[in-house]
């Protein structure tokens, strides 16, 4: 496994030669190319937010990706962050990163004790590549990180306990943006973590120190939650979504949470009725999505006289997965992983400062 991973190369960006990086003195160009680098007032940034998407297609991801690795990603709730491109990250150096990160964690945990890199320690860190998740050749391959702890008194062959896991990914990232980065940079903008916050902080801090990048929290705003609700509902004919649950918070005093659960068949029929407006089968437009949510809201209003559009959508869930406003996501079915990750990659790239 390790052998195979270490031969994997960081994707090469040849197109970069003619468009070199941006220095502080090259602002002229940045304005001209405002469209995709978000150099802009809100107006142009809005252009970057997609107004239509491809309809999700069920696809057996395990044909491309190692099923064991897929199992690590699904059916777990991940906390999301975005991260700016890594400087001099090499997919070939993962072994050495494992050593460095474990030494870093131990030294941070035992403040003031110097640690030799490569020593046997209480923590073991595993970096591995998840091959096959990348969709285009500009997407860098996904990197999965596990932190295992060794029990002090455990027997030698006892399985080590996974205390923290996380992964960095980029699926169908904006091609213009990825092409604009110089060769020394690798963009894996979406960072999903699971485990104690203290370890997440340490891992982020190691990445920041090692690859000169910056992490920030990635929330999922209500437009994107609406997208997810529609995408998942649209899957109902293929995989039973069992329910569609939406949670709104209304700005009353005290704030009121409304949990709204819809029968899957009803939800799908409403969605399908929205879909008939569109002629092309393959893509979904934002108008259909807002129409769908409006339909749900007006139904609710008719029964309870509460206008949900006054509040904000906080959370949605189906049997296919769930997602929370604060940046939590859980993907239950491996079949729709690429669709979801593409959406989240988009969100992360929109957060990039340049």
């Amino acid at each position: 496994m390790e052998e195979r991973n270490s031969t994997e190369k960081t994707p090469c960006n040849n197109a970069l030669a003619q468009r070199r990086s941006k220095s502080y003195r090259q602002s002229m160009r940045s304005c001209v190319e405002a469209t995709h680098l978000a150099y802009t007032s809100g107006l142009l940034t809005a252009l970057r937010i997609p107004r239509s998407r491809k309809a999700p297609k069920s696809r057996d991801i395990t044909k491309q990706v190692d099923p064991d690795q897929v199992a690590l990603l699904v059916k777990k709730e991940w906390q999301l962050s975005y991260v700016t491109p890594f400087y001099q990250f090499r997919h070939t150096q993962l072994k050495s990163y494992s050593k460095q990160l474990s030494a870093f964690i131990v030294s941070e945990k035992q403040q003031g004790l110097a640690i030799e890199v490569g020593q046997e320690l209480g923590f073991k860190v595993n970096f591995s590549v998840v091959l096959g998740l990348a969709e285009t050749d500009k997407d860098a391959e996904t990197v999965f990180i596990q932190i295992l702890s060794k029990q002090a008194f455990a027997a030698k062959d006892d399985a080590q306990k996974v205390v923290w896991s996380g992964w960095l990914t980029c699926v169908n990232g904006d091609l213009d943006y990825l092409r604009s980065l110089p060769l020394e940079f690798v963009s894996l903008p979406l960072f999903c973590t699971r485990g104690p916050e203290s370890l997440t902080v340490l891992v982020k801090s190691w990445f920041e120190k090692t690859f000169d990048c910056c992490f920030g929290p990635l929330g999922i705003n209500s437009t994107n939650l609406q997208w997810l609700a529609s995408l998942w509902t649209g899957c109902h004919p293929t995989i039973n979504i069992q329910y569609l649950k939406l949670v709104w918070t209304l700005p009353t005093l005290p704030p009121m949470d409304v949990t709204y659960t819809v029968h899957p068949q009803d939800a799908w029929e409403l969605w399908d009725s929205m879909r008939q407006v569109d002629t092309t089968e393959d893509s979904i437009s934002i108008d259909e999505v807002t129409g769908f949510i409006k339909g749900l809201q007006s139904h609710f209003f008719r029964h309870f006289r509460i206008d949900l559009s006054a509040g904000s959508l906080m959370q949605i869930s189906t049997a296919l997965g769930s997602s929370h406003h604060s940046g939590k996501i859980k993907i239950a079915s491996p079949n729709y992983i690429p669709t979801i990750l593409q959406l989240l990659t988009e969100c992360a790239l929109l957060k990039m400062p340049i």
Binding site: S21, M28, L43, G112
Partner: protein, 722 residues
């Protein structure tokens, strides 16, 4: 003195290499010469006498009850703690103390006030280490000495010989001779496990973290660090007090050192993204070139000469954000022109600004913290240092202007705004003008003034860039010759025209809104002082006249300063236009200033002359035409004279004053008599003597005088031919 030198030389010969003794001998000789001269000049200086005593005192002299010793010691101690000791004094006292000529107690006491005023001579330290090797000293005194060396380490004048004896210093730490670096690190780590977390071990280990980060990782806890500081706190406090007092004469190196390095992070920060990272070496040394070649980490850079010496082997730090605020590091960054380095810095900076002001993830409150203020101030000074703005701060500003309330950190935000590079005219409106217009018209007078000031600064920076780069590339400028994207001269001119016209619109409406407030008018005239000189001062073949909404309020202003400045501006316009015309005729260049501009100028000029000089106003065909019947209704006698230099509200007071001086006996004021004969000249001279130079230049350059048949002196505005 001679005895000391001999003693130390023989000691060095026995303990370390002979090359050391040579240099120590020469240094002693020079020291002696200096000493002799001093002695000649100031034989009576008690401080020098005290030093002489310490250099000559014999071993074994009793110290208890020795009044001479005590007097001299106090003398040196006082100088040491107040002004710091000069290098030669450090040398003498260190030698005295470490030789234990009067026992360990005196040694400890001397070490405690050994505060250098400027630098510590390397030879003194080497000799002291030699004494250390004699090994008569108590362990605690040895430790004290090593701590002293660590404290003043940065002030040792050169370190090549010290490096040579690192092994000996190490010997005192480990008592084992170590040869290879990895072994040393491992030894230290072993020692650490044996002895626990000793501060001095940590210090040595953290030095290794600087030079070979791939070997050791270490987190210095903040509590530990402050505890660590206490060991040397007496010296450090005394040292910084001395340095503060001697500021200016102390080597400038200290102020140049990396400012971020010693930043305490004792306070727990909520705003992680605002924290400027600490300088630390990069772990990533994959490239074979860097491992074979000796690199020089930026952390070790303390002076500009050092930067020059090591320019070829400086290594950028692991986090580029740490360069912010360190002028030395920025000098290097400016020199290397490494695109990736700039991109890394921009990613960090953009991220900090976005998180703080746009995403507001810092616990709700955005931008109001002192950390945010600190970051922006640091960014501003960095940009001023580089004389250019970062693209990430530019990109941030375009977004932030749309949500800015106009008051949050106003000086900083406007400061950053004035640093943005030339914006292409195609998007300048959307990126810059639209958000600014909204803020401008909904804000207070002071905000309006600061916006105009900011745009004035922006314009002069753009023009300065132009004048620098245009010289390089002839007329077809490329502002950034190393980038693929060049800006043509016409593109640049378009942007400048857009900016000047925009400010003209803002100014005209702003003056109207604020009732022609003289403060606002003053800022606007500042702006036009830049505009009127674009051709002569910056070599840009462009002249843009102010709009009527600015010209007339300035001309009719009630304060004389504004009218005077308008006079100056018109004078400069005339100079620019005439020399542009000359150049155009001489070189037959393709560029030309439009006839419309000349027409506008002539129009303003004629109006000013006939209004201020010839007392002609409200006549048919003039810019301001008022119906004669309406004028009659106002019952103002001779309304056409009401804005000449005598009756103009700005100058009326001066006219009264002048009248009083001319005819002190007159009871009845007759201002019109100033207009007659010689008095008019005297009045003008009186005005010019009051400091109205602008008016003087305007009158001298633009008015041809001719005496009419009547009493009144008439002037004619010198029109420029079209």
């Amino acid at each position: 003195m001679v005895a000391t030198a001999n003693l130390s030389r023989s000691d060095l010969d026995s303990s370390s290499g002979s090359d050391l003794s040579v240099s120590s001998r020469t240094s002693n000789r020079s020291l002696r010469v200096v000493e002799k001269e001093r002695r000649k000049n100031e034989a009576g200086d008690p401080f020098l006498l005290a030093l002489k005593y310490f250099s000559e005192v014999e071993a074994g002299t009793p110290c208890v009850g020795n009044d001479v010793l005590e007097r001299n010691l106090v003398q040196v101690e006082r100088v040491g703690l107040s002004r710091g000791l000069p290098p030669e004094a450090i040398s003498v006292m260190l030698d005295y103390a470490m030789s234990l000529r009067m026992g360990g107690v005196m040694c400890v006491r001397v070490l405690k006030f050994l505060i250098p005023a400027t630098v510590v001579p390397q030879e003194a330290v080497v000799r002291a280490v030699a004494w250390l090797c004699v090994s008569k000293m108590a362990i605690s005194t040895q430790v004290l000495f090593l701590k002293w060396v660590l404290t003043v380490f940065d002030m040792i004048d050169s370190k090549d010989h010290i490096r040579a004896i690192y092994g000996f210093i190490f010997h005192f730490v480990t008592e084992e001779n170590l040869v290879f670096r990895p072994f040393r690190v491992r030894k230290l780590l072993d020692l650490q496990t044996k002895m626990g977390r000793q501060p001095f071990l940590l210090l040595v280990l953290s030095l290794y973290k600087v030079f070979c980060p791939e070997l050791v990782t270490l987190a210095l806890p903040s509590r530990m660090r402050s505890g660590f500081k206490n060991h040397n706190s007496t010296w450090k406090a005394a040292l910084s007090a001395v340095q503060k007092r001697n500021k200016g004469q102390v080597s400038s190196d200290i102020s140049l050192t990396l400012g971020v390095k010693h930043k305490t992070d004792s306070r727990k920060r909520k705003y992680h993204h605002l924290e400027v990272p600490l300088l630390s070496s990069s772990v990533q040394r994959n490239s074979p070139s860097s491992s074979s070649r000796k690199v020089f980490p930026l952390e070790q850079l303390h002076s500009f000469p050092q930067l020059l010496d090591n320019l070829h082997r400086i290594e950028l730090p692991s986090q580029m954000g740490s360069l912010l605020g360190s002028s030395l590091a920025l000098c290097y960054l400016d020199y290397v022109q490494d695109d990736s380095a700039f991109l890394r810095l921009n990613f960090w900076l953009g991220h900090a600004l976005h998180e703080e002001f746009l995403f507001c993830s810092g616990d709700g409150g955005s931008g109001s913290s002192s950390e945010a203020l600190h970051l922006l101030n640091r960014l501003l000074s960095t940009q001023q240092f580089l004389q250019e703005g970062f693209s990430s701060s530019e990109g941030f500003l375009y977004k932030f202007l749309n949500v800015w309330d106009g008051s949050l950190l106003r000086p900083q935000i406007l400061g950053l705004l004035s640093d943005i590079p030339v914006v292409p005219s195609s998007c300048i409106n959307q990126l810059l003008f639209e958000p600014l217009v909204q803020l401008f018209f909904t804000s207070t007078l002071f905000f309006k003034c600061s916006v105009i000031d900011c745009l004035n600064n922006m314009l002069s920076k753009w023009l300065t860039w132009h004048s620098v780069y245009a010289l390089e590339d002839g007329l077809d400028i490329s502002l950034h010759s190393h980038t693929p994207m060049n800006m043509t001269l016409s593109g640049f001119m378009d942007s400048v025209v857009e900016l000047v016209r925009f400010v003209g619109r803002l100014a005209a409406v702003g003056l109207q809104l604020e009732g022609c407030h003289s403060l606002l008018l003053s800022f606007i005239l500042d702006f036009y002082e830049t505009v009127c000189d674009m051709f002569l001062k910056y070599g840009l073949p462009l002249v843009v006249m102010p709009p009527v909404g600015v010209f007339y309020p300035a001309l009719f202003a009630t304060d004389p300063v504004s009218v005077d400045r308008l006079g100056y501006i018109m004078y400069r316009y005339k100079k620019n236009l005439t020399s542009a015309k000359c150049q155009q005729q001489e070189t037959k260049q393709a560029f030309h200033i439009s006839r419309q501009t000349y027409r506008e100028f002539n129009h303003y000029l004629l109006f000013m002359v006939s209004c201020l000089w010839n007392s002609k106003m409200f006549l048919p065909g003039m810019a301001i035409e008022v119906d004669q019947e309406l004028l009659a209704l106002s019952k103002v006698p001779k309304p056409w004279t009401s804005f000449d230099l005598i009756h103009h509200p700005a100058f009326l007071g001066y006219a009264f004053d002048f009248h009083h001086k001319c005819w002190p006996e007159r009871k009845k004021m007759d201002l019109n008599s100033i207009k007659a004969g010689k008095h008019w000249d005297w009045y003008l001279e009186f005005l010019f003597s009051q400091g109205f130079q602008g008016l003087q230049q305007f009158v001298q350059s633009s008015i041809t005088r001719w005496s009419a048949a009547g009493t009144n002196d008439q002037g004619q505005g010198d029109r420029l031919s079209l």
